[in-house]
Subunit: 258 residues, 4 copies
């Protein structure tokens, strides 16, 4: 197997005196990071630190826009006018582009956060609003979107470079959607299980749902997390197993271009 795949992770979600997740560790494992843009987490100073670290680690950065809900960490569903949503996303992308100037690096992609990502997975209006924001601000940015979701369709409809992603550390329902994290067993915390799963997913281009159903799936990127105690071990084990299986971990633009 000679395959290139991207690993991505959310990052930079601290805010002022608050820190969350393990940004330094996750940066060493993935090929691309999704940077919180100050609405659900993050702030201008955190963003600057992240883009400098990303450059140092040869990791590409994407905008990780979320709802304007720091208290809820962007995990609460909010019914917004799709136009307001679009401009809100454009604003956050622009803010990161501004901050990325500190590292002299390009913002390579956009991935929605939390409840926004979950809603846009099935809500075509939201999915298109995010896509239009990307297209307007910089149509060369990759729309990083849950495989099989409305976001993938929106990305294609708008002619955007669109990369489907799959999740190593989360169970899937039989309809291809992520199983809710409200049930703890849907978050995979065992590094060995996650690693085996990652290799299987890449090798077979197939996700196995939590009931055992195989679902053939195209993806350029696998998402890992850094915000749970077990997450770093899961991510490290997955990367190591993938590399041992001959998979090369690359940035998102490289995985997209492959």
């Amino acid at each position: 197997m000679s395959v290139k795949i991207n690993l991505n992770a959310d990052i930079g979600e601290g805010h002022g005196a608050y820190s969350i997740g393990n940004d330094a560790a996750i940066m060493k494992i993935v090929g691309s990071v999704n940077v919180a843009c100050g609405f659900h987490g993050g702030d201008a100073g955190v963003m600057r630190d992240v883009v400098l670290a990303a450059k140092e680690n040869n990791v590409t950065v994407g905008a990780h826009p979320g709802f304007n809900d720091l208290w809820g960490f962007g995990r609460r569903r909010i019914d917004m006018d799709p136009n307001d949503l679009e401009y809100m996303v454009a604003y956050q992308i622009g803010a990161l582009v501004g901050i990325a100037s500190y590292a002299g690096i390009k913002v390579s992609h956009v991935k929605a956060h939390g409840a926004l990502n979950n809603m846009a997975a099935t809500n075509a209006e939201y999915a298109m609003a995010i896509g239009r924001a990307i297209k307007t601000v910089d149509s060369s940015m990759i729309y990083l979107a849950l495989s099989g979701s409305e976001m993938v369709k929106a990305g294609h409809a708008l002619g955007l470079p669109t990369s489907p992603e799959a999740f190593i550390d989360r169970q899937y329902d039989d309809d291809g959607n992520l199983a809710t994290r409200k049930q703890p067993e849907n978050v995979i915390k065992d590094p060995e299980m996650a690693a085996a799963r990652a290799v299987q997913m890449v090798r077979e281009k197939t996700i196995i749902s939590r009931t055992g159903k195989p679902m053939p799936t195209e993806f350029d990127s696998l998402c890992v997390h850094g915000d749970e105690p077990t997450a770093i071990a899961v991510a490290e084990a997955s990367r190591a197993a993938l590399e041992q299986a001959g998979v090369e971990i690359v940035t998102l633009p490289e995985a997209f271009a492959k």
Copy 2:
């Protein structure tokens, strides 16, 4: 007299259901607008409306970054670490650049808002922090800065295009600083007085302080306001008087390049 001068005004300071000022009227009078970037006022939707209207009116847009204080409308002095301040400004500039994509227009300048502008007028660290943010995000943007202030010095020290501005509708102290708006008589509300003052300022390149002291002053731009009941009349009368005196009202880049 064949002179080119810019008129600038703050704009887009509404937020969600709240509106303030008279954006439509002020847009017809000035050559450039300073667009609130969501921290002290404004939001992504308001910003988009403003950049579209600016394009239609052949008016250039600048970022108008302020403190992160919607409740205080950016008028409360906040002691920030200059680095945090710098990144905060870069974030806001970037956000506007992102939104300006909706109109396909360039962000021509940056002008600090309210208490941030007042503090940076005399605080060299703040003035330099704003300047570094501009230089990092886009060093071709003009630093629009109170004439004689630390901001003008910072702009020059950083090699930025720097345009001093003067205020038509505000009295000055003898040291060249703006007299406090806490004393109502320091805000000029009489259109005729303001208009005469504008012509005198441009003709003589001199500001007359509130005690009558003439202070020779270089400036590319005159600031007017749109947020007080009398402001539109003051701005309109000033523009009319300037044009009648042979002064051409141009965009800030044109006034800078003259």
Copy 3:
């Protein structure tokens, strides 16, 4: 007809430099006001001004808690954990009780704002969460709740004094819910029509749906609005017509106790 009825209106929804609605005018018309508590609108200073004015006008004040969404003015539906929602409401009630000390007056009731009110009308968990917050902070406060809604049921289930309210200036669907304000014709802007409707509602204890269906309805209070250009005229005409019909406009506690 010798009837006592309460008129209530939302109030105090400005924030810092932003003002909205016509608080002074509405205060002269109603018997009770619902005071924004700083989350969807309002701030500590506005709240203080309102409680002082309420005392002067012999109007009782209620807390008007909303979602933590100033940008959306509390009009966006947010999916919250009901426990978080409950404490959020208790916090806002407590804040108003604190500020009401400036006038030495009691907070007489609680009415949810905007999307929170709309959601709690049909979502029993939200309705109970609001009720539990009231019961915990001060079980003598009246739960002012849309007639026929889950909130009325929750108030009764919790043993709270519960006052159903009906809307003068809004059309109803045949199921007893408020017709959406997204369709402009569902907001009644004609003072005469509103006034006739108010008298009919009180006289017949019946709401006529927008299709003409009569729906017998108990209520202690009629809600009017102050935030649309026509709202004051509608409210004034309604009050005048009610008084001419022999209806006495009283505070909510008086209407509840009748």
Copy 4:
């Protein structure tokens, strides 16, 4: 020596997904806690958890109002109108009183947070504004105030129960003010040094400045911290040493009444 003294600590400064400090540990050490009220930190849910835990631990709770600056964690000086400041403090006190209903406990005191506390220590207008807020909301609450500060004067001038406090883990300048925490050596991190200092302070009713100057000082309470890695050890050692020296650690109302 048979002395009663209070130990107090800030608590409940997490927000949503963010946690900070070690609330569970500090609650076991002190006699009273100062609860963040949602402006510089904390939120309604965190506040509820804290008041329930305080009741269980027989610890009294006070409001810990701060500037409306979550990003700056209330540590940035903000120039506010003293009236706005007063109502902002009253709002926060009221909010905590509302939430304290969940534990059925009284809010025993008020202590300003961070930059607000630092400013009010020397700014009489701020100190009086905080005092007026306390007096208006509940004049039986204790104004917990840095010994020798303007806040102590304001508390006395307003006839409020006023308790001076001293700091175990912070150095003092010779003028009696806290030495800036920007210089790390001004934060005492050695448990033994802090413990010895605590006993000396209580025994001699004297603070030794960082230059060695003895400053006789009255205080009812000693402040410890829970937000630095070494803070819990410092607080535990101080409490143990005080008890060994025969000092009884009591709630603030008990220490005030002694």
